[in-house]
């Protein structure tokens, strides 16, 4: 019982830390740094959506960046080409991303392991190809420029706090999700799919639901990104988006949820600060990833957690 209590306490601590750190940041940092923090929040949500599959169900997806970008495309298209309201656009973006996730899921539940990775990669590539070639809708390589945010969240600070609120709410939902009976079935599938079936679980149905739900969360992140970036192009749906989300989850710690915030912060800060000094910042990212894999394969938060448990 004590382990359950301490797990809840740990998660509560995670919520409080995110709230306090990200909540007070705008008071102490420049507006440029605040926009980086804003981006960190959005990508932490994408990383968490990947972490649910990778860390709990044992399925590493390389398609969630595309789901994220689909939502971004829909929001920007709806507001700037169609001229609709941004609120409705966000809703539509999330709905479309969730539906596409369901289509992805119908294929992806048939496989596991490296085949799951390759299949989600291929599905993501299809999305990227469509966005690149369907010029009349997506603007091809030129992308589409947005029309700015609604008045209520037009100022950077207002938008920052709105993002924080949405991301915290989503984090809470994901946290409940992985701790629910359904979340436990995902961990069961990760450990032994054959045992799950012989216990009466239709494992494909469970994986389908899990994939679709994580697609919803990636879609929310993508909609926030549309409002944040005000521009979308094929690079938003390309493979590197998925890879970055996965790297964030891994560096933070797979299966820890809150590690995604640490991973997103590490990678985005690296991207922004190191790139000021060298164009080869991706080399630094590569080295960082290798070092993590060798010395802390459970990620930053996973390793901290292990050290704490050992100390007791």
């Amino acid at each position: 019982m004590s382990s359950t209590v301490s797990a809840i306490q740990r998660s509560a601590l995670g919520f409080v830390l995110v709230l306090v750190i990200f909540g007070t940041l705008p008071l102490v940092v420049s507006s440029y740094q605040m926009s980086i923090a804003n981006e960190i929040l959005i990508f932490a949500l994408l990383a968490m959506s990947i972490d649910v599959l990778a860390g709990y169900a044992g399925r590493t997806s390389l398609g969630h960046g595309a789901l994220f970008g689909i939502s971004t495309y829909v929001v920007i298209y709806w507001t700037s080409v169609y001229g609709g309201s941004a609120w409705v656009g966000c809703l539509l973006g999330v709905v479309v991303a969730t539906l596409v996730a369901a289509i992805f899921a119908a294929f992806a539940v048939r496989v596991s392991g490296v085949y799951f990775l390759l299949l989600t990669l291929a599905l993501g590539m299809i999305v990227w190809g469509v966005c690149l070639r369907w010029t009349s809708i997506t603007g091809g390589e030129n992308g589409i420029r947005g029309v700015g945010r609604p008045d209520l969240i037009a100022s950077p600070t207002a938008f920052y706090y709105a993002t924080l609120a949405v991301v915290l709410l989503m984090t809470f939902l994901i946290w409940r999700f992985v701790r629910s009976p359904f979340g436990l079935t995902l961990r069961g599938i990760r450990d032994s799919e054959s045992r799950m079936r012989s216990l009466g679980y239709g494992t494909s149905a469970h994986m389908f639901v899990a994939f679709t739900v994580t697609g919803f969360f990636a879609g929310v992140a993508g909609a926030l990104y549309a409002l944040f970036n005000n521009f979308v192009s094929p690079s938003t749906v390309q493979l590197s988006q998925s890879v970055e989300g996965l790297l964030m989850a891994i560096i933070g710690g797979i299966g820890t949820l809150f590690g995604s915030f640490i991973g997103a912060a590490a990678i985005i800060m690296l991207e922004n600060f190191v790139s000021a000094y060298t164009a080869r910042w991706q080399m630094v990212l590569g080295v960082m990833f290798i070092v993590t894999m060798i010395f802390a394969p459970q990620g930053i938060l996973g390793t901290l957690r292990m050290l704490l448990i050992r100390k007791r």
């Binding site: 019982m1 382990s3 939902l173 409940r176 999700f177 701790r179 629910s180 009976p181 359904f182 979340g183 436990l184 079935t185 961990r187 069961g188 990760r190 450990d191 032994s192 054959s194 045992r195 799950m196 079936r197 012989s198 216990l199 009466g200 679980y201 239709g202 494992t203 469970h206 639901v209 739900v213």
Partner: protein
């Protein structure tokens, strides 16, 4: 083949290419009966279990459970009908605790497994069933332990607990005592003996002495084919069985 038969296997064949791992096996298990399947390694015992549970659907023949033809039903569909099994090679959720393994086992046949934002804890009735199955399997005090940290014997006991907690109508035990020390084997035998006699049970076991004292009927397989069927005493004195399985008389 009266309606008292819980499980009827009719001319089951399971072929892997040219190899017939199970060749024309027919067995009828009465409701409440304890039936053992014995035979040397490679006799097709586990393959027959896989045909019953749907892991490897039979190439030919029929599997009838409680009067229903289930030959083509999915593994999980059969589990929900009340067929529960243990695995010869321990098949648990190693990174989860004993309690979490039991939660998954309890919910498998019931509702609540799709509950996404509900509490992870079992409801009162389910919790009672889980703790009853754990205490039958003598794991009552081990609930919070991660399964990979259990001893091998305890893992075998958990296999039993997870099969029992589903309240099966048919329990399939695939070498429940495999790899256990003599002392641990006695525990497993006692657990099996303590189970309700309403439960139909099919048991695969290598240990002849263990099995012949636990069951009412025995089927002996050899090279995928049925060699003999009868009461434990008949099997003990059967010359064919003695030759292939117990070894020829010295």
């Amino acid at each position: 083949m009266s309606d008292a038969s819980a499980l009827v296997l009719e001319n089951i064949v399971v072929a892997f290419g040219a190899l017939k791992a199970v060749d024309n096996v027919s067995i009828a298990v009465r409701s409440g009966e304890r039936h053992a399947i014995i035979g040397p390694n490679g006799a097709g015992k586990t393959t027959l279990f896989n045909a019953i549970t749907g892991v490897t659907p039979p190439t030919a023949g029929r599997v009838v459970f409680q009067g229903q033809d289930i030959t083509r039903r999915s593994v999980q569909g059969r589990a929900r009908m009340g067929i529960s099994r243990t695995f010869q090679i321990t098949n648990l959720f190693p990174s989860l605790t004993v309690d979490e393994n039991m939660q998954l086992a309890v919910r498998g046949n019931g509702d609540g497994k799709f509950s996404m934002f509900g509490a992870a804890e079992l409801n009162a009735g389910q919790a009672e069933r889980a703790s009853a199955a754990l205490s039958i399997s003598r794991l009552d005090t081990r609930g919070a332990v991660i399964v990979s940290e259990l001893s091998y014997g305890e893992q075998r006991q958990l296999e039993m607990a997870m099969a029992l907690v589903a309240q099966p109508k048919l329990l399939l035990l695939d070498e429940p005592a495999a790899g256990l020390s003599p002392a641990e084997r006695i525990i497993v035998a006692e657990i099996i003996r303590s189970l309700s006699h309403d439960l139909t049970m099919v048991l695969i076991e290598h240990d002849m002495e263990l099995v012949l004292n636990l069951v009412e009927r025995v089927t002996c397989l050899n090279n995928g084919q049925m060699l003999a069927e009868g009461t434990p005493n008949e099997i003990r004195s059967n010359q064919l069985v003695q030759d292939v399985y117990l070894g020829k008389a010295r």
